[in-house]
Every structure is written in C-alpha cells, then in structure tokens.
Amino acid sequence: MNTHRFINRIRTLLGSAVLALGVSLGMGHAAPAGAAGAALAALADGSDVIKTNDGRTLEGTIVREVNGYIWIDLGVGNPLMLRPDQIESVERDADTEVTSDPVSSSADEQTWERREGVPRAAVITAEEMVGVWMSAKPLEDAIPVLKEDGVDLVVIKIKSGGGLLLEIQKISDVIHEQYKEDFTVVAWIESAISAAAMSAHAIENIYFMPRANYGACTGWSGALEAVEGRQLESVLYMMEQISARGNKDYRIMRSMQINEPLSYDILPDGKREFYLTDEGEYVLNDGEYILTLNAETAEHAGFSQGTAGTIEELTRLLEASVGEIEWVGEKVPGEPFPISRAEMVHREWREDMTRQENRFGQIYTQYEMEIGNAASVPVENRGGFIRKASRYLSQIRKMYDDNPNFGLLRGMTDEWFIAQQRRLEELAPAHRVDRKERRLQRRRPRCPESQARRAARARRQDRRRVRDLAHQPLRARRGLQRVSRVALHRHDVQHRRPARSPGVHNVYRDHPARDQTHRLRARPQAESSP
C-alpha cells in the first residue's frame, strides 16, 4: 500500500510537471496537453484519472464512492473528496476495489501481522474518579482503535476510589454490550473501590494485584449520609443485574453495599457457595462491616482468578487459560506494560479531564472577570473584553461537550450557555460573538462610512485652502496634505505658477501626524504673510 501511494505521488508530480510545461507553452493548450499527458501516463500505469470542471486532471486511486461523491487517493495526505458537480469525467484503470466504506487515513494503515493462533492482547487503564476520569466515553472511543490493532483480549486495569453512581450502568453497558461482543475482557484490579468495583463487576474474569482492594460499595452523599429507601433498593437491584452479567453471586456485591453478613463454603467440586449469614465455613463479613476484598480473600473466595503484580505474572496466568498471547503496544521505559494506541486514548482523556478539573474554576472566574471588565467601560471599548469572555465561554463549552457529566456536576445545561451568549450580546449590541462574523469584521475596512466622510471633508477643506493659498507665497504652502498639494499643483498649472520644491513635498509625505503638526504651524505663518 505504501509503495502504491509513493508511486501515485510520483505520478501526480509528473502530471503536474506536464501541466506546468503546458502552461509555459501557452494557456490555450495547457490543460488538454497536461491532462492528456497525465491521463496517458496514468492509464499506462493503471491509475484512475478524474477530470474536474475547473480544468484539473487528478490522477490516483479511487478509494471510495457514495452517490456520485468520489474519494481519490493522490498519494499525498488523505484522499481528496470530489462532489458530483465538480467532476467532468472519470477514467478508471486502477485494480483497487472501490467500496462505500469510510476512508481510512494513512495513519490507520495496518502495520502489524497476526501470528497464527496467537491472540493479541492490550492493556487499557481505567483510573481515578468514576464519571470523570474513569468513564464510558473513553472506553467507547477506544473500541475502533482496539479493532484496528487486531486486539482479541482486552485487559482493563482498574485503579479508582469510586465516583458517580450514574456512570456505573453506562460503563457496565459498554463493557457488556460492546466489549464482550468483540473481545475477551479481563479486569486487572489495582484498586476498585465503590463505583469502580460496581463498574467492573460485569467482567467475568478478574485478576488482582497483590495490594489490590475491591468493594466498599455503599452509596452516600454529603456528610457521609447513606443512600436509603427506594434509591438504595434501585441500586441493589441494579447490582443484582450487573452481578448476573459478570456471572457472580449477587450476595457478594450486596455485602459490599450494606451491612449484611457474608460467608461461604467450598464445595467438593471447588465451587463456592455463598450465604448472607455467617454460617459458612469462611466468613468474609460478620454483618457489622462493609465488605472489601483483598488479593488473598478474593482468591480464596474464588472471586479472582489469580494474583499478578506484573505484566509477566499476568501473562503467565492468562496463558494458562487462553494459550500464548501477544501484547499490543510499545514498550516504554518506566511503564509496567506495553502502551497501546487504545491506552493512549484513555491517557489523553484523563489528561483532558485533569486539565478541566484543575482549570475550570480559573476559566470560569476569568470569564466572569472579563464580563465585569466589559460592563465597567463604555460600549465602544468593550470589544476586547467581550472577545476574551467569549473565548473563555468557548472553553467552558468544550469541556461541557467533551465530558457528558461535566454539566451535571456543575449544574450547567444548554440553556445556561444560551443565557451566557445573550449576556454577551447584550453587553455589546454591535458585537457579534460568532467567529465567522469576527473574521469578516476583521477583513472589512474599519468604519467605511466615516472614511468616506473624512475624504469628502478633506476635499472640501482642500478646495477652501487652495482658494485661500492660491495667491500666497510658496513657503506658506508647506505642510499641506498631499491631496491639497495635488489640488494646489493643479491650480498652479491652471494659473501657470512655478512648480514647488520637491524637498518640501517629500519631507512629511508619509507622516500624517507630523504633517498635521506642521500644518498647524504653517497656518499662522500663512496667515501672517502678507
């Protein structure tokens, strides 16, 4: 593929050269000559050629077609899309099969090879607060990347102290409905507390790190006030369903949520039978406690499939069940596992969220500050402040758009943004907040009417001065504006006066401010002259 793109690029350059030659020979024949040359060269080499209505001839490989729209790979950058109304003719010769599938960029090209019978595995990390950093969105965003990398087994490494209740179902859904559809999914727990444990509970295969913990899933808010009543029941019910997804006894999660005892027996076949009493042989919770499992208790209770502190130990455990595996990603010094592109999706997400969390307060205060500044100056001077306020508002909007829970955590809605937009517009009625309009405003000459008015006024004044100075000595004419001098020259010519010294003309020609000063000085001289 790369070779093909390279050849295409060379061909395109050759085509351009032929076109350039055509141009140098004469415009009238340039396009046909260039096009013909390119087309011939292309057809001979097996490329597609598209002639466009504006006279261009594009040569490359058609990679996609949908309803007359064509994407042609010219060998440079991403394929170029052409609308039906831009295309004059298409000559096909490339062997490439054209589909209507989305075009993939060069970065997406497959650079790996699958080893026969060896599953490809990748580690992705879900860390920090659930609903902000650990969220369904980056998990979803990573799916296409995992597929492109040919990943079969996804290890979700979790390190989180919990977070928002509302995100649990979303994460569980993404894992159960999307990840399990396409991949074998394994959780590797460093720390999964509260909402993090509840989110990971849909995963059947769980491995612990030696100092891992998992549980303490009691819902609360404010000053350690517990979720109660119907809301508690709904959460207990939700977790019963999620436990079923993860093929786990619901009693385990129940004992992590409320003060209920939990014990178990190990049956002859090695399976564990759990009881919501302390009558089993092994007691995990006596009922005066909220259950949190550690690596030892989890493994003994059959909750975890094993304990692995390093990627090598995890590989050994996984290979015992799925055979040899190949890790996807680059080994980076200081990183305990290969960093895949999907993992980068997660890391970038967390970096964005950290920036948001740390900087939201500052950006919001800056926004309000600029609004206050704008309100404190006359309308004509507000432009800069409002532009800045508008920029901060855009940043807040981006945070809101990027993170589905951002607005929820801060009480922001679409209506809030509309209200802020109105606020800005009210502060400066003439000011248009949208960027396109600002760009247009920048291109437009400033205050065209007043410029015209100024020119007219200058002309009027010139006429007056020419009239006044026509019979004055030449030195009195110094300091007149260029336009006045031209008019005066015209007057001189008409009245056959000698031309003035060029030095006098040049001194202040490009310096209106000094010109003005001189004019003010010159005037009394003129007036005092006889």
């Binding site: 100092r211 913990n213 009691t218 517990a226 005066e288 550690n294 990183e335 100056v377 800069g384 402040f385």
Partner: protein, 471 residues
C-alpha cells in the same frame, strides 16, 4: 565491607582534564539543573566539596560563575552535539563509576527517609534517590526510616503522644508506594532487594515497611501510631458509610501487607481496637489468632500482642508513657523480631550488612563521608528540605512583599506601573515555586489558579489603562 571512596583529587583531576580538553573547543560540557528551576549549559572548571566553579554559556558568550552544590539538583554530561547524553551519569555519579569494585561485590545504596512525612519525606526526593540508586547499579537499596511525627517538636517525648488517631496520614504515605514498588519493577533491569531499616516509622510511615519482606529494626525502633481507625469519623453521618470508609482504608493497608508477604492480622491489630491478637510459635512457625475477648486461645504458649482495650484492659497513662500500651499494635524491635515481622535488629550499617549476610562483599556506593549513607541521597534530601523552607518563607512573605513594594520618589506617573510590574514579578515567582513544590504546597493547583487570576486582573487593568478598552 568495602566502601566506595574514590578520592577527590583523582576526581578533580579527571574533571579538570576534561574541562581543559573541552575548554579548547570552548563549548559547554555539562548541563546544570538548579534549584531555582534554571538549566544552564556549562563547562566545569573546578570542583570542591561544597562548590562547583563553571563557565556558563549564553549563546556564544561565556562567563565564569561559582555555584554551591546545594544550589544544583543535577549535573548532566552533554554529548558532542550539545544534547544531554541519555545514559550519561551525572557528575555526582562519576564518583560512583567504580573502577575498583571487585567483580563479586554487592553494590549497596543506603539512604534515609527522615523528617516529617509530607514535608521532608516526599515523593520527589524519594524518586530522585531511587533513581540515583538505579544509576549506580545497586543490588541492595537500604532505606532507613526515621520520621518525626507531624507537629511534634523533637524535644517532646513521643511517649506522651497517643498512638491512636493519625490514620489518615496513610494518604501522604500512599504517594511513596509507587517509587518503592511499581516504578522499581518498571524501571530497573535487575530488580534490587529493598530493605527497610526501621528506627521510627510512626503514623503514615508505619505503612511503608509492610510493602517489603526484608524489614530490620534498630534496637529502639518503633513502628505504628495508626490505631483507632474506628474512631476516625466519630459520629459523623451514617454508620454504614463510616463502615465503608473504614473498610476501604483497612483493606488498602492489608494490600500493602500482602505485597510484603506479612500477615494481614498485624494490620487489623495496628488499626483497630476491640479485638485481641495473640501469637505463639508452632513447629518453628509463628501462628496468630485474633479473638473478640481477652481470653487466651486454647492451648498453651500464647503471647498477647494486643487486647480489646475495653474496661480494665484499656491502656492507662502509666502504660502509655512507658510505651507499653497495647490497645492497638505498635511494634518495637523485640516484638517485631519475635513475631517474624522483622528479620533482625541492627544499630549500625555494618550490623545490618552482617544481618543481611553480605558484610564481606557489600560495596557501599557513594559514601565519601563515611556515614554509611549515600552522599548523593543526603544532598537530595538537604536540597529538598532547604528548598521547601526557603519557598515557604518566600510564599509567606509574598503579600508583605507586595504591600511593601518601593516606589522611587521621582516615579511620578510611573508609580502605578512600577507597582504593577513588581507585583507581577512576585506573583510569577510564587507560581514558579508552587510548580516546583506542588506536592507539598499546592497538590490541587488551587493556589496557583488564584495567583494566575490575580495576574490576569493586573494585566487587564494595565491594558484597560493603556487603550481604554479590553485586550
């Protein structure tokens, strides 16, 4: 025991030779990272115990300057193209490049974590020390723990301070875990043996020795002071939520014990009152048993580690001042050894190396002053401590400095401008310091955010005055 004591004249000679060689080309040979955050390209001219004399390069110009060693964080040799050599050892480590080390020597890098947790003992200096140990190729890293309890002056007898109630310093200690565990696994090609040598590991520091199996005590060593987890939240909120909070904290610490290969029952005893922990030796192995009452388990030979702390078993002031309280577990050298938590008791590095069985092969890295601890680690600790103190002073005085900005009498209309520019300079300096010491002063960036807002306010004011409108 061998000590790596490369003589300074030899080093100085080598450095000078290098300086002369490079001096001919008049190009920087090293890069200095200073404690004020500046990075300088330099040519080293002369080194003493406390100072380094260098030629500082600014573009094509150079000027001699002398730096105190305490002002320098790292010194990196530059490659011929002027870039820092990836694997070039720092100047301090040139001393560690041991040409005389016997082939069968066991390189040992020893350093101390002393001072106050969350202040002197912090993740950045620890990471730097571990990095030095890695660069020096240490096979054994000995970490001596000797922390001061927060807010407790050194002259106060620690015995009068209750061992209970400082559990949440766990979250300060938590930051130290990665450089001692995960990062070592990821960064070191050959995994070192990390040995904790406990003199004082109280409050949050008590959780650190749990991470490794090789723990030794000094003869008056103590580890604990994290009891009464159940009382931490008092009567705040609902009991079930308090239970949850206690549960997750307790299991986090148990995770450390599991990683270090210690029994989790010790953690229960260290954190909670209400249960009694007993032990006895069975077939040469220590067996623990936890009971809800104060009765000894069945059979003989049981020794009590803790009691329930209820009724007549509650610790008295007499017990506490004699360090004999046992409502929660605070380990001393004797008990720690008896229950197998500590592998031995050593009051000097030589004793410790003997306990470790490497006294004849141990090669102490980077110990020119003969105190048994790596000089580079000492320097890192001192630089960090001094930097923090100086930064704190600067930050404390910031408002006063702003209020006392001197305006020249003849400033006239420029007075406001001078005041603003100096205020901006002070605020920016404060942000620089907070960036450097963020883990101590401003972990959530909120202080910096406020300072940046103040800067913006001033800049807006300047702009408004200049053009009469917004920027």
């Amino acid at each position: 025991m061998l000590r790596f004591n490369t003589t300074r004249p030899a080093l100085l000679g080598a450095t000078l030779a290098a300086a002369v060689a490079f001096g001919a080309a008049a190009e920087p040979t090293h890069e200095l990272l200073l404690t004020n955050g500046d990075t300088l390209s330099v040519q080293i001219l002369e080194e003493t115990e406390t100072q380094i004399k260098v030629n500082v390069f600014y573009g094509t110009l150079s000027a001699p300057r002398t730096f105190q060693r305490s002002e320098i964080i790292t010194t990196t040799a530059l490659a011929a193209d002027g870039t820092a050599k990836d694997d070039a050892p720092a100047v301090a480590d040139t001393r560690s490049t041991d040409t005389e080390r016997p082939a069968d020597a066991v390189p040992v890098y020893a350093f101390e974590l002393d001072g106050e947790l969350g202040w002197d003992i912090s993740v950045t200096p620890l990471r730097q020390k571990m990095e030095k140990a890695r660069e020096a190729g240490a096979e054994y890293v000995i970490v001596k723990l000797d922390n001061v309890r927060a807010g407790l002056p050194e002259w106060v007898d620690e015995a009068i301070v209750d061992d209970a109630g400082a559990f949440d310093t766990l979250f300060q200690a938590e930051a130290l875990v990665a450089p001692l565990t995960t990062e070592v696994r990821a960064d070191w090609d050959n995994q070192p043996t990390i040995v904790f040598w406990v003199d004082r590991a109280m409050e949050g520091m008590a959780f650190i020795p749990l991470l490794k199996p090789d723990v030794y005590f000094t003869s008056d060593g103590r580890m604990g002071g994290v009891g009464d987890l159940e009382g931490m939240f008092g009567s705040m909120g609902d009991e079930v939520v308090r239970d949850k909070q206690e549960s997750l904290r307790q299991e986090q610490v148990k995770g450390y014990a599991i990683e270090g290969g210690h029994t989790t029952m010790l953690v229960d005893a260290m954190l909670r009152q209400g249960d009694a922990l007993w032990y006895r030796i069975e077939n040469g192995e220590v067996r623990f048993e936890m009971r809800r009452d104060n009765e000894a388990p069945l059979g003989g030979g049981w020794e009590r580690l803790t009691d329930t702390g209820e009724g007549e078993f509650a610790d008295t002031d007499s017990d506490v001042v004699r360090l004999r309280g046992n409502d929660t577990l605070t380990l001393d050298a004797d008990t720690a050894f008896k229950i197998g938590f500590s592998k031995g008791t050593a009051d000097s590095l030589d004793d410790l190396l003997f306990e470790l069985g490497i006294e004849d092969r141990a090669y102490i890295i980077d110990d020119n002053d003969g105190d048994g601890l790596a000089d580079s680690a000492d320097r890192i600790g001192q630089t960090w401590g001094r930097g923090l103190t100086s930064a704190l002073r600067t930050l404390r005085n910031m408002e006063r400095d702003i209020a006392n900005i001197r305006i020249p009498e003849n400033a006239g209309d420029r007075a406001q401008q001078i005041r603003e520019s100096q205020t901006l300079r002070i605020l920016r300096r404060a942000i620089q310091l907070l960036n450097r010491y963020e883990e101590v002063f401003d972990p959530n960036e909120q202080w910096r955010v406020n300072l940046e807002l103040r800067i913006q306010q001033i800049e807006n004011e300047i702009r408004r005055r200049r053009i009469g409108g917004g920027g």
